[in-house]
Symmetry: C2
Subunit: 613 residues, 2 copies
C-alpha cells in the first residue's frame, strides 16, 4: 500500500479476502472485524430486496442481524462496524438512502494527471492507459462503500485523448476495472465526448441524424455487454469549448435524449452537466451576466428531457466559489431529474493546503434547497495517488462526509465531522472537540480572508490559489467584480442584470431587498458604495477590512490549536506543514485585498491596523 494510511478505515484490517458480491464483502468485513474485536460477537445476513440499498440492523445479544437488499447488506455492515468503532455500542439501526445515485466524478486524465487535482496523480490512469495497484483499488472500493458512494465516474468530464477509447478500444480494461469495484457496490460511469461519431468517421455528430443515433446505440450495446452494470454516461457538452448539440442547431435536450435512447435498454442514465455559459465574454459587455446563463438555457427545456436523463447542476451559478447562492435551476426545474454537483477538490477553496471542511457549506445549501428537488448527487473527487489520498490528511473528511450527505442530506455537519474525527484519530474528548471546532470553523475563516460578502473571482487566474483582485477583471470568463473608486459588486436585482428574478418569489425578495439580503451574499446581489452602512453599523469598506484581518487571525488561532493536538506523526507533520502555507496564504490575501480596496477607496482602517499603501 506504499505507506498509505487507511484514512477513516485505518482501524480495519488492511486486506480483505477476495469477494464477488457486496453481500460477500459485507460478510468478510464483519467476520474480520468481529474476530479482531475478540468479544465473541456473531452476525447473520439476510438478503431482502424490498429494502433495496437500505438495511435494518438488530442485535440479539452478541449476534448482529443485518437485513438489506443487494447492497443494503454492505451498507448495513459498514454502519455496524463504523458505529462500533465510534464507540456507539450495539445499536439497532435502520436506514435507507435519500438518493439512489451517489456519484463521485474523478477528473482524471489518462496521462495520469488530474484536472484540479491536489492529491497526486491518478489512482488508476498513467501514460495513456489503466495503470493501478489492484489492492489499492479494492481499498478504494471499501472507502467508497463505507461512505455509501455507489457510482464512480472514472475519467475527466473534459475528455482528453485517449479517454475517448474507454468506450471502444479499452473496453476490456474498463471491464476489469469495473470488476474490482463491483464487490463494493460501486458502479462505473464514463465521461464521453459528444463528438465521438466524428472521430469514428461519421460525417456528423448531429443528435437527430439517424446514423449518429445508430452509432451511439451500437456503442452502448457493446459497452454494456462488457460492463452490464455500468451506471451510464457523463457529458460535458457545449461548455468551455467542449463539443455539443448546439453545433448542429439542436437543444441540449435533443442531445441528451439521443444518448438516453441509446442507453435506456441497459438501464443506463445520461448525466448531462448544466455548466454552460459564454466563456468568451467581452468584459465590456455589462448586460451579459454569467450566473444568468444556465437558467436561461435550461428553464425552457424543463420537461423535454427523457426519464433517464439527469441534469447535473453545480451548487451555485458560477463555479464552486467559496460562497454562492444556490443555483436557481435547482429550485425551478420541476419536470427534470436533477443532480446537485459539489466539488470536493478544493479548486477555489484552498487546494487541500488550506483547511476547508465542507459540511457547514452543504448544510446551507440544503437549508435553501428542498432535498426532494433533486434525485441524486455528484461530487468532484479529491482523491489521488499521494500518501494521504486527499492531499491534506483532514481533507478525507470531505470525501467521507459527502457520501453521508448523499445518503441522507439531513445529516448534521457536526455529526459528519465528529464521526470522521472519531474514526480517524484516537483523541481524548477535549482534543477531539478541539479538532472538531477547528474543522467546523475552517470554512468561515477561509471565506473571511479570501472573499467575504459574496465577492468572487479575486483569485490568481488559471491556478486559482492566492489573491489577484484584478486577475479576471478584463478576461473572457464572465467573472467580474467591477470594483472602482466608489463601489464594488454587480447589481443582480431586477434593476440590474435580473439574476435575482430567476429565484422563486420568497428568495427573490430576500436577495433583492437590501434589508434582508444576507451579509454573506451582499456583494453577489448588489453593487454598493464603500460607505454603505451595513445592518451592524459598520461601513462596507470597514467590514471588508475587518473580515480580512479577522480571517488571518483565525488562521493564527487554528495553527495554535493544531500545534497542541496529539495526532499521529505523519498526519501531524503534514497538517502542520500545510498550515504554515495556509498562514502565508492568509496573510497574502489579507494584505492584497485590503490594499486593493484601500487604493480604490482611499479609506483608512477605522481601527488603525496596517494596510500597505
Amino acid at each position: 500500500m506504499n505507506g498509505f494510511d487507511g484514512l477513516w478505515l485505518k482501524k480495519l484490517q488492511r486486506t480483505l479476502p477476495p469477494c464477488e458480491t457486496p453481500a460477500e464483502t459485507a460478510k468478510a468485513e464483519l467476520s474480520a472485524f468481529f474476530a479482531d474485536r475478540g468479544l465473541g460477537e456473531t452476525f447473520a445476513l439476510a438478503e431482502d430486496e424490498a429494502l433495496g440499498e437500505g438495511y435494518r440492523v438488530c442485535w440479539e445479544g452478541a449476534c448482529c442481524r443485518v437485513a438489506g437488499g443487494h447492497t443494503g447488506l454492505l451498507y448495513g455492515a459498514y454502519d455496524v462496524i463504523l458505529g462500533l468503532l465510534k464507540g456507539e455500542g450495539r445499536q439497532d439501526l435502520a436506514s435507507a438512502p435519500q438518493y439512489p445515485l451517489r456519484m463521485l466524478n474523478a477528473w482524471d486524465n489518462m496521462d495520469g494527471s488530474v484536472e484540479r487535482g491536489y492529491s497526486g496523480r491518478s489512482l488508476w490512469f498513467e501514460g495513456g492507459r489503466f495503470d493501478y495497484d489492484p489492492e489499492r483499488i479494492r481499498y478504494l472500493g471499501r472507502l467508497l462503500a463505507s461512505a455509501h458512494i455507489n457510482v464512480l465516474c472514472l475519467n475527466n468530464v473534459n475528455v482528453h485523448a485517449p479517454a475517448q477509447e474507454l468506450v471502444s478500444g479499452m473496453l476490456g480494461d474498463l471491464k476489469a476495472f469495473a470488476a474490482l469495484l463491483r464487490p463494493f457496490g460501486v458502479r462505473l460511469m464514463v465521461s464521453i465526448d459528444f463528438s465521438l461519431p466524428l472521430s469514428a468517421g461519421l460525417p456528423t455528430a448531429d443528435p437527430l441524424d439517424a446514423g449518429v443515433r445508430e452509432f451511439w446505440k451500437a456503442l452502448a450495446d457493446r459497452v454494456w455487454a462488457e460492463v452490464p452494470d455500468l451506471a451510464g454516461f457523463l457529458v460535458k457538452a457545449d461548455s468551455e469549448h467542449r463539443p455539443g448539440p448546439n453545433a448542429y442547431g439542436r437543444t441540449h435536450a435533443e442531445g441528451a435524449n439521443m444518448l438516453a435512447e441509446a442507453v435506456v435498454p441497459h438501464q443506463g442514465v445520461v448525466v448531462w452537466r448544466a455548466f454552460v455559459y459564454d466563456c468568451m465574454q467581452d468584459w465590456r459587455d455589462a448586460q451579459t451576466d454569467r450566473p444568468c446563463a444556465a437558467y436561461k438555457i435550461y428553464q425552457p427545456l424543463d420537461g423535454d428531457f427523457r426519464d433517464n436523463v439527469i441534469l447535473q447542476v453545480k451548487n451555485g451559478p458560477y463555479d464552486f466559489q467559496v460562497r454562492e447562492p444556490v443555483s436557481p435551476l435547482l429550485l425551478s426545474l420541476k419536470k427534470t431529474h436533477l443532480a446537485l454537483e459539489v466539488q470536493l477538490a478544493q479548486e477555489y477553496t484552498g487546494q487541500q493546503i488550506d483547511l476547508y471542511a465542507m459540511p457547514p457549506m452543504w448544510r446551507e445549501i440544503f437549508d435553501v434547497l428542498p432535498k426532494e428537488n433533486i434525485c441524486s448527487m455528484a461530487a468532484v473527487s479529491n482523491l489521488g495517488r499521494g500518501y494521504f489520498w486527499t492531499g491534506h490528511p483532514f481533507a478525507a473528511l470531505n470525501l467521507y462526509a459527502y457520501g453521508r450527505l448523499a445518503w441522507q442530506p439531513d445529516t448534521e455537519p457536526g455529526r459528519m465531522i465528529g464521526d470522521w474525527v472519531r474514526l480517524t484519530y484516537d483523541l481524548n474528548v477535549e482534543d477531539r472537540e478541539s479538532l472538531c471546532r477547528l474543522l467546523a470553523g475552517s470554512r468561515n475563516a477561509y471565506e473571511k480572508y479570501t472573499a467575504p460578502l459574496g465577492l468572487c473571482w479575486m483569485v490568481v487566474p488559471h491556478t486559482h490559489y492566492g489573491p489577484c483582485p484584478g486577475g479576471y477583471e478584463f478576461d473572457l470568463w464572465g467573472t467580474y467584480h467591477r470594483a472602482d473608486r466608489n463601489a464594488v459588486g454587480i447589481d443582480r436585482t431586477g434593476e440590474g442584470t435580473g439574476y435575482a428574478l430567476q429565484y422563486p418569489e420568497k428568495l427573490h425578495e430576500l436577495y433583492e431587498n437590501l434589508d434582508t439580503c444576507p451579509d454573506e451574499m451582499l456583494l453577489f446581489f448588489h453593487r454598493l458604495s464603500y460607505d454603505w452602512v451595513m445592518r451592524d453599523g459598520r461601513t462596507l469598506i470597514q467590514r471588508i477590512y475587518d473580515d480580512h484581518f479577522e480571517g488571518y487571525e483565525a488562521v493564527r488561532a487554528m495553527a495554535e490549536t493544531l500545534r497542541a493536538l496529539p495526532l499521529p506523526e505523519n498526519d501531524k507533520a503534514e497538517a502542520e506543514s500545510r498550515m504554515q502555507r495556509q498562514l502565508r496564504n492568509a496573510r497574502e490575501w489579507r494584505d492584497v485585498i485590503n490594499t486593493f480596496f484601500h487604493r480604490l477607496s482611499g479609506v483608512s482602517d477605522a481601527r488603525g491596523r496596517r494596510i500597505y499603501p
Copy 2:
C-alpha cells in the same frame, strides 16, 4: 528549404558551393552574384590583416577590388552585393566595426522550445539533441554574415538539461555545428551553468576552490581543443534562481574571474550577465526598487573584473520594456568591459504579432549612451524554424538592423529601415516610403496603446502579451506601478527610491526635475496625481486616455497602409493576418487601461470618447 523565403537575401542564389573560410565564402558570393547580374563585373580579393574585420572596396571600371582582414573580405563582399541590390551603384567603400563582438543570444532549449521565442521551434535543437538541416544553418550563416553578426550563443542563458552537456558529452556535435558557421565568420558561444562542478561530482562550485578552478580549466582545454575559435562562455548567475557565486559568499567578480582565468589561454571571453535583482520581493516593501539593484551590485565591483570578462547589461534597468531609461550601469562603470544587450524577440513589445521596428528605440539609447562606453553588443534572437524565420515577415528588419547597429551604432534608423525594405521587397518609391513610415512609426504606436509615459508591467503575467494592469502588482518580481485613486508611478528621485541618483549629474537632474523629465519617462521617475498638469497643458489622466485612443487609431491607420501595399502574397497574407490580431490587441489595451484608470480616478475623458465603466 521548406518554403522559407530567404529574408533580405532572397535575391541571392539559394545555395552556395561549400566553402572552408570566410574568404572563400566572399569569393563564392561575389562570383555567383556577378554571374547572375550578367554585367561582366569581376572582382579581386586581397587579404590584409591590418584591416581586421574592416574592409576597403575600390572599383576599377567593372572590377571590384576588396581588401580586408580575415573576415573583412566577407563583410566587404556582402556590402558590395547589398549595395548593388539596393541600387546604390558601384561605390567605393571603407568600413570597420565599432565593436569586435556582435553577438546574437539564442534562448534555445535543447528540447526544441525557444524561451520567449515567437518564430517557431529551435533552428538547431530538438528532442534533447542537435537536429538541423545543414543547408538551413549555412543559410543562417549567410544571413548573419551579411548583417555582420559574428557570434552566436546557441543555447538559452537559463541552461536546462541536457544543455549542460554541450561542453562535455556533446562536444563532437558542437564542433560539427561550429564548422558549419565558421565559413561565415560566425563563432559560437555557449551558455554555461555555474553549478556544473556539482553535477560533475565535485563537492562545491565555489569559485575560489582550487578543485573548481581546476575543473573549469580542464573543461575549457577540452572544449577549445574541439572548437578552437569558440568565442567564450555566456553566464547567467545568481539571477532568477540560477546558481552563482553568491551561494559561496563570493562576488560576481570572483565568479566571473575564475571562469575568465580558465578561458584566457584560449583567447576566450566570459560574458557575465548583469541581470540580477531580487525576484522574490515582497510587494509590501516599498523601499526595495528593482531598477536600483544592478547598479548597487556591480558599481562597487568596477575594476575588479579580469580583462577578458565582459559584463552584459540590458538596455534598461528593468527588462526590455517598451520604454526604459538607459541602464545607469552603462553610464557609470569605467573600468569594466561592457556589452549592451537588446532583445529582438519581442517579449514585451508585441511578440512578433504587433509591428515593432526597433531602430528608433536604439537611436534613443545611443543618444544617451556614448558608444565608447561599451565594447560589444548582444541581442536576444528572434529566430526560429517557422516559415518566416522571425515570425512576422517584417520582424526580420530587427535582426538585420541589429547587426548593422553593432557594426556602426551611428547608423540612422531611417537608413536601416530603408535598406532592409529595399533588400526585401521590390516596391515603387511611394510604396517603399509608405512601408518605411509604417515601420518607423510602429514603436510609437505600440507604446501609446500599451504603456505611455514610462508605465511598465501592465502586461498579462507570464505570457507578457496583452493588458493586465494589476497582474504584477502583488507579485514577487519587483514590478509595481502602485496606482491608486489619486496617483500612479514610483517616485525614483532622491526623495523616493533614489534610483535617479545612479545617473551622472546631468541626466540625474534631467530626470529628477519635473520641468525637464521627458514625458516618455515621466511615470518611470515620478509618482504623480491624475490631475498633474503636463507641459502641454493636459492633465496626466487625459494624456493617458489620449495616448491610448491615439495608439489604437494609429494601428487602424497602419492596417490601412498595409492593405494598400503590393507585397509578395505570402508576406502580405501573414502580415495582414497578424495586423488583425494587433488591432484586437490594441483595442484591448486601449479599453482595459483606460477603464482601469477611469475606475481609479473617476475622471471622464475630456473629449467624450467612450471609456467602459
